[in-house]
């Protein structure tokens, strides 16, 4: 019992969320102004569109010690730039199959479409994702030990 508790306290996973400016970042803002809680270990990076998310950014996050990375964009068909999220979706499919090949758990990466009106969805997705990452535990495979202090 005690050992478990100590372990739990020591490990707080780090989650990086890439959010497009027009839908998901606004959805996160709405979650905030509606006071909908989600874990503090979710850190959001604003990008103009989900198509701005280079797969390298996600790999870099894992390399530097992130335990889960989620990318959020406008719903398909609703992209502020018409087609950006379609490109993002294809790129992520490719990246995920590569991560599969490398033996990285599929659940560590996720794509979600959250509109500016879906504050509740944003919070729910983040809570669920954080719980998943909590269960999976630390990302050890992609972490670059040279990057650590």
């Amino acid at each position: 019992m005690q050992v478990n508790e100590i372990e739990k306290k020591e490990y707080t996973p780090l989650i990086v969320a890439f959010c497009c400016n027009w839908c998901s970042y606004a959805g996160a803002d709405l979650a905030g102004s509606s006071r909908l809680n989600y874990p503090a270990n979710v850190k959001i990076i604003r990008v103009p569109c989900s198509c701005r998310v280079n797969p390298l950014f996600i790999l870099r996050a894992f390399q530097r010690g992130a335990d889960g990375v989620i990318m959020c964009g406008c719903h398909p068909g609703d992209c502020h730039y018409s087609t950006g999220n379609y490109y993002a979706r294809r790129r992520m499919t490719l990246l995920f199959s590569m991560l599969d090949y490398l033996g990285i758990e599929r659940a560590r990466t996720r794509v979600e479409w959250v509109s500016a009106a879906e504050g509740a969805k944003f919070a729910a997705v983040m809570n669920e994702f954080a719980e998943t990452i909590n269960r999976l535990g630390e990302n050890r495979k992609l972490r670059d030990l040279r990057c650590e202090k």
Binding site: V16, A40, V47, C49, L56, A116
Partner: protein
Amino acid sequence: MQKIGVFVCWCGSNIAATVDVAAVVEALKKQPGVVYATDYQYMCSASGQNLIKDAIKEYGLTGVVVCSCSPRMHEATFRKTVQAAGLNPYMLEIANIREQCSWIHKDIKEGTEKAIILGAAAIAKVQLNAPLYSQTSPVVKRALVIGGGIAGIQTALDIADAGFEVDIVEKKPTIGGKMSQLDKTFPTLDCAACILTPKMVDAGAHEKINLYTYCEVEKVEGFVGNFSVTIKQKPRYIDATKCTGCGACVEKCPSKKTPNEFNMGLDNRTAIYIPFAQAVPKLAVIDKDACIHFKNGKCGLCVRTCEAGAINYDQTEEFITREYGAIVVATGFNQIKPTNFDEYLYNQSKDVVTSLEFERIMNAAGPTKGHLVRPSNGKQPKNIVFVQCVGSRGTSCRDKSYCSKICCMYTAKHAMLVKDHHPEIDVTVFYIDVRTPGKNFDEFYRRAVEQYGVHYIKGMVGKVEEADGTLKVQASDLLDNRQILMDADMVVLAAAIEPDPTARSIATMLTASMDTNDFFTEAHAKLRPVESPTAGIFLSGVCQGPKDIPETVAQASAAAAKVIGLLAKDHLLCNACVAHSDETLCNGCSQCANVCAYGAITYEDRLVMDKGVRETRRVAVVNEAICQGCGACTVTCPSGAMDLRGFANNQIMAEVDAICK
């Protein structure tokens, strides 16, 4: 290395309650490049902004980080602030420690730690910021209004009166919208036609307004100030330049069995028809599906009747492309058909009608010439039951979650009108709540109860049954806690209103966002209610949310004011965060141009100096006035030549690194 100043806002207690602001300042002072850090109660106030300006001058800051609310809120404000102090406005980054930190976390330690990390990420990014300069683009001084109801008409009239050209696109053969179907309007009971038709005529006759009726928006390209819109003109099979709207063809047409949309299908119309007497433009239109000529090539009575020779069976769809500086969405609403509310017997009984159908029955120009009669037998009803909130404020899948807002008031109006004409008719209203916020609204409702003796019963109708030619209404009275079984000759359902079904495809074309109910989202729920988050797209009327006529007209004029403000400018500043290509890395492969949704990338032969060798190469060139800054090309580029200003690869990497430290 930049000289960075960090300004942490308390936002009163909004941030300071869950984030130890002083600790954030102390921690961020230690970040590389930070030469000054402070906190203040309200950084966006005049004194807060002066604090930033003074610090920029005193410490010679080259970059500024404000830890405050969302950049969607005050990025523009603080950019102006740093600009006023002589910095380039893009040398600012905002760490969102309110919406994405203090408001969602309760633990002060947790909130403070997160705020420090978000601040550090913003500092890491601003280290790599470079001054950016906006291009300008000209503004086309013409506006497009999608939808010709009262919202669209009012917006168009206001814009046109300011001296700008306006086109109205209306999918129906006439403008006027839902208001043209109404009999009287609350809370003054003046007749809808008397106040609407003069406006329709004004819009039709205005030299600056161009009506595209029986048209649909087919394609939208471009961006604020420079939209290019393709409009589809559906064939009327009538030469609009010849038709005088005399109606002789309508009288002669032998195909008389098509449900009349204007009267909500309560009577029939002919295949060639004029929607209603006051239609603008007053032109006949042939319904191809009902016309005998289009079925078997025979008939042709209308051709022989028309003295003007206006009938033209060979008309086809036409496409018109025009340029606009601004677009106003005024697509309006529809009342839902309560066909899946079986308990109210709407499908089975003719005497169960929606309120809009009842409106047509009460209307002097309606199917019964304004005589209040039962649709089933043409006799005057002895008692009428009104049911509120049919499909509104519900949680099941057939319900809308929102309040349709107008039903309480129009039901009070209907009840009063019934009592006005026939005081002997018994009128009962079943309601969940009576909602009357608005000028003179509650007084209006109280008149219905106190002066006209309308029975208001708090409770919902559970079931309507038909027996012996009359309706039996089963309901509960929640205040008296008893069940009611009463007779009714007619039941009127205040069915929910929903956005017009075309709104979704229009939103997609305009890249304007919608909420889960398909109402258009405004740029800010309180402070920018008539603008869409997409620049140059404005919202008017019910397309943004349920509204009554006074509110719709107010919002329509507000949208017009915003459009006029935009069209009054000769040039707009473009987005400065645009893509650019590094000539020395680009190999001219065309992949970036393939993914660009705006056609902003072209190729030029340039003399490039590469590793000491001068050679002419085909390289990508970004037109900065057209680029919208999405960044699709930057990820596609295989050689890493394409990058996005303001969201550069190294900047986002720096943020990732700072967060993952």
